[in-house]
Amino acid sequence: MDKLSDEMITAWLDGEVTQQQRSEIEAAIAASPELGVRVARLSRADRLLAPAFAETLNAPIPERFEAVIGRSRRGDGLASFRAALSGLLSPRPMAMAAASLVVGVMLGGAILSGSPTDAGIATDSQGRMIASDTMAASLASVVSGANAGPLAIRLSFVDIGGRYCRQFETTAAAGLACLESESWVIDTLSGTGGTPSLSGAYVMAGGSADIVISAAIERLGIQRVLDSHEEAAAMASGWAASAH
């Protein structure tokens, strides 16, 4: 590749080239210091832009938006649910972030459909509920918003504790899983269908999955939501890069 256009270089920087183009471009850059300078120049715009507009990301959500979004949620039982939840959990505030909340799910029933031998959930040596191998593979690889396969991801974020967390949904359940020393620990799990049936901690009425999960997200605290680039980068690194 003798001559690389700015367009081609920026497409490469954005990860928008084919594997073949990528190899060619990388070889060309490695061979040409002059090209390296151009690449550095072109990548500068993005390096400057992201921090210039980062201010709102960690700012509290202004009341005017809460009012719009939450208007019809008030009086919907959410406030009383939150109060009940904090009542349940307050005796052990420090352990709270590590505690799993299981609601309306028959443990032993399958979380993941399509795999008769793997229900999706396993228990680790400390007795924590973690994703099984099959489920962990999905949690690590499914792109937010993708609408295929037995597991969908609604949101990827870094919690206040610096863990990567993913809000997931299967045909049977919805929940939150957060990555801790190579295991996806199930923080919250809530049944989305059928009769609530439980051999876990708390029993809630059916249909409350969203409230349970939104309360859990508030409890964990979002440090930042991953956008599609950040999510792809985290995936590419095997979720190994520090989430901080």
Binding site: E7, F53, T56, I61, R64, V68, I69, L155, D210, I213
Partner: protein, 174 residues
């Protein structure tokens, strides 16, 4: 309220910080950006039925905001403020020679430079460089071909750097 409606609101709420960032980068003002977010949230909640489950809510919201912004700009075209030249006071710090290129540029300058770009270029840059959309997602959000995304993006980045480096003080005017 249905379960789906509630989920929709939870997800909308999680998106608000990014929507505010997008609004700020389009309009150049946190307040104007927030007005855009407010308008988009109201529209989204009134049109929830149009949202296709399984598609990306963020893309849908960016699209609503982008369209609302274009509408606002059209109706305000005659009242538009003349964009001021970039201020001088933020250039030329760190002239002791030790600083790298970028340390002479502060974030306010970057935001100002962004506002000197043509609105079409600014939208692409905001979606791809700041919001992290793929070319395909940005093409869908803006309703233009991927090839146009690539050329606008490349032009926008080059233009932004020219403005920041002071090579070319002429800005876009309508």
């Amino acid at each position: 309220m249905s379960e789906g409606d509630n989920r929709f609101r939870v997800e909308l709420r999680a998106l608000v910080p990014r929507l505010r960032r997008f609004g700020h980068s389009l309009t150049g003002s946190p307040d104007d950006g927030d007005d855009l977010v407010q308008e988009a949230l109201e529209k989204a909640l009134s049109r929830e039925v149009q949202f296709q489950v399984g598609s990306r809510l963020d893309s849908w919201m960016y699209k609503i905001m982008q369209n609302a912004w274009i509408d606002q700009k059209r109706s305000a075209a005659r009242r538009r403020q003349i964009i001021q030249p970039m201020s001088e006071d933020v250039v030329a710090v760190g002239e002791d020679g030790r600083d790298t290129f970028d340390s002479r540029i502060n974030l306010r300058q970057v935001r100002e430079a962004m506002m000197h770009l043509h609105p079409d270029e600014r939208s692409v840059l905001a979606l791809v460089s700041i919001e992290g959309q793929t070319y395909r997602e940005a093409a869908e959000t803006l309703g233009i071909p991927i090839g146009t995304i690539m050329s606008r993006l490349s032009r926008a980045r080059a233009r932004l750097l020219q403005l920041l480096d002071g090579d070319d003080p002429v800005s876009w005017k309508d």
